[in-house]
């Protein structure tokens, strides 16, 4: 229950409780945020500093085809990641929620362990698998190729030639959009499963039974009852996956190589190599705005349905 402070003493206590966090967030969060906005209208100084001005030049530069393409790819990758996480994560959450209670905690625990593992390490694990000398290619050009060789020698068939040729060179998995998406899905899947699970687990099963009692078949009762009632989990999960995917830096940096970069990498290079702070600030601001607006729209849609 929330109440209005009832006496001067309570008002003092309220101020005491809020002041430290308010100070910290104002000075080390809100002020820097405004600062980024201010700098994004400035220009790069001759020696990499910031020259204050009020120009839209940085935002105009954002519409350069080079950056627009990267931005488009970033959006596409983030959306694809979210959709994949949703269509795989929701059934996984449903699977966990429909197990007997004594199984459920164990399954959730298994889900949390990768979730709590360092993100760099989780991405690195995929580097081990996906790179040109990685495990998948090792199996492809080694194990599979040898198996096919053996097969073609014992059972001569015309197909083997093509397959042998394919397995003789390694797959270029590393440095593709696909590699980034795999890394992101791996990184954020638990963020989708947990809120979905929470929503599904809360669902009153008698409502599903009521729907079936009222002649809804399994698909209908899913679409008309289960899904709408667990929408809060779907919305929360999607936002939790979409936001970090949109701002991803580590995954494209480690798995995307030089070919596949996202906005996060562009921002990074503006600060760490090009030293063009105002442009970097402008891109960050665009990214934040897209993310905030997207989140708000999504939440609005989610609560309406």
């Amino acid at each position: 229950m929330e109440i209005q402070p009832r006496s001067r003493r309570e008002t003092r206590r309220l101020i005491f409780l809020i002041a430290p966090s308010l100070f910290w967030l104002l000075v080390f969060f809100l002020f820097p945020l405004v600062l980024v906005l201010a700098i994004s209208f400035g220009q790069r100084g001759t020696y990499g500093g910031v020259e204050w001005s009020l120009s839209l030049q940085n935002y105009r530069r954002f519409f350069d085809p080079l950056y627009l393409r990267i931005f488009g790819r970033t959006l596409l990758i983030a959306l694809t990641t979210t959709v994949i996480c949703l269509v795989t994560g929701y059934p996984l959450a449903y699977f966990i929620a429909t197990r007997p209670p004594r199984w459920r905690n164990g399954l959730l625990l298994l889900l949390m362990i990768p979730f709590w593992t360092n993100f760099l390490i989780r991405t690195y694990a995929w580097l081990l698998l996906l790179r040109d000398q990685g495990l998948i290619n090792m199996l492809w050009t080694g194990g599979l190729h040898n198996a096919l060789l053996w097969l073609s020698n014992t059972v001569p068939l015309p197909v083997w030639g093509r397959l042998l040729e394919a397995t003789s060179t390694s797959l270029s998995l590393f440095g593709t959009n696909g590699a980034i998406i795999v890394g992101l899905v791996y990184g954020w899947l638990p963020d989708m499963v947990l809120p979905c699970y929470a929503a599904i687990e809360r669902l009153d099963h008698s409502l599903v039974e009521a729907a079936q009692d009222l002649y809804a078949n399994r698909v209908q009762s899913f679409l008309r009852v289960i899904l709408p009632l667990t929408m809060s989990g779907v919305v929360a999960g999607s936002v939790l996956v979409f936001i970090p995917s949109l701002g991803a830096y580590v995954t494209p940096d480690l798995l995307g190589g030089a070919k596949s970069v996202m906005m996060g990498n562009v921002i990074y290079s503006q600060f760490m190599s090009a030293r063009d702070y105002p442009f970097g600030a402008a891109i960050s601001f665009v990214l934040m705005t897209v993310m905030l607006v997207g989140t708000l729209i999504y939440f609005r849609l989610g609560t309406e349905s």
Partner: protein, 275 residues
């Protein structure tokens, strides 16, 4: 009751149920295969990960002798420890205020409190870096700690508020009715009851702090390399068995942390808190 049991039985063997089970198993395989590969290769005698050359603990030994790594671990613990301490105290205080008082500007403050959670870490990293440069603060452990507190306050506040939402306010009234003043009420009744939430929040802050790479990277200076920064530079140099060993060790630590958080939640009787 009998009929329901029979119906459940039949439902389990339906094709939807079977598909769900297959999907579930595939999901867990997807989550664990990369980790298993990582752990297996950390024991591989070959320096090159392409083939198995026998079991060895050499990589663990050489990792433990790495001086740079040791100092990175020390820095990480300093950063995570202090930022967790500060953000847990501040976050708990603000959670208490937000859960029980209404005041002017609360909505705006609420938004400000949530923003660090939803803003991409690269954007936050950029903001803080620019701020520190303009404020002429020397980049180092202090700036990293300041930055970590800036995002951890919000996470702690969310977790503690979730706990407080289930807190029965009449317990505090009962304490005050029984002659406990505000302080006594807080220490004797409120704090013990929300302790699992606070510890959960602290654990979350600690994990986030240990994990953070992007914000730390932007706000760090010479001599303040943390573990994620060290891992990153190692990975950038190339895949080595030492990284596999280090990763496996960190995996073990995070498993222990998950267990700890579960024990905390069990102790408090609360549900699993999700952020």
């Amino acid at each position: 009751m009998k009929t329901i049991g029979v119906r459940r039985e039949r439902r389990k063997t339906s094709w939807v149920g079977r598909l769900l089970t297959v999907h579930g198993i595939a999901g867990y395989l997807f989550l664990y295969l990369p980790i298993v590969v990582l752990v297996v290769f950390s024991f591989n005698a070959s320096r090159y990960a392409s083939a198995w050359r026998g079991f060895t603990l050499d990589w663990y030994v050489s990792m433990l002798q790495d001086q740079a790594l040791a100092s990175a671990v020390k820095n990480t613990l300093i950063v995570a420890g202090s930022s967790t301490l500060i953000s847990t105290v501040f976050g708990t205080m603000v959670a208490l205020a937000m859960e029980r008082y209404r005041f002017r500007g609360k909505l705006a403050f609420d938004a400000l409190l949530y923003l660090p959670i939803i803003i991409p870490d690269i954007a936050m990293a950029v903001m803080l870096l620019l701020f520190f440069i303009l404020a002429r603060l020397r980049l180092g452990l202090v700036t990293i700690i300041i930055s970590h507190v800036a995002f951890n306050i919000s996470f702690v506040a969310v977790v503690v508020r979730a706990r407080l939402a289930y807190f029965d306010m009449s317990l505090e009234e009962a304490a005050q009715d029984l002659y406990a003043d505000e302080w006594q009420t807080f220490w004797r009744v409120t704090l013990p009851l929300i302790m699992p939430g606070i510890l959960g929040g602290a654990l979350m802050a600690f994990t986030l702090s240990i994990d953070d790479f992007v914000i730390t990277f932007f706000t760090s200076g010479p001599g303040s390399t943390t573990l994620p920064l060290r891992i990153y530079s190692l990975v950038k140099l190339g895949v080595t068995p030492e990284i596999n060993a280090l990763s496996s060790l960190m995996l073990l630590i995070s498993m222990a942390l998950v267990m700890l958080s579960l024990l905390l939640q069990k102790g408090g009787g609360g549900g699993i808190e999700i952020v």
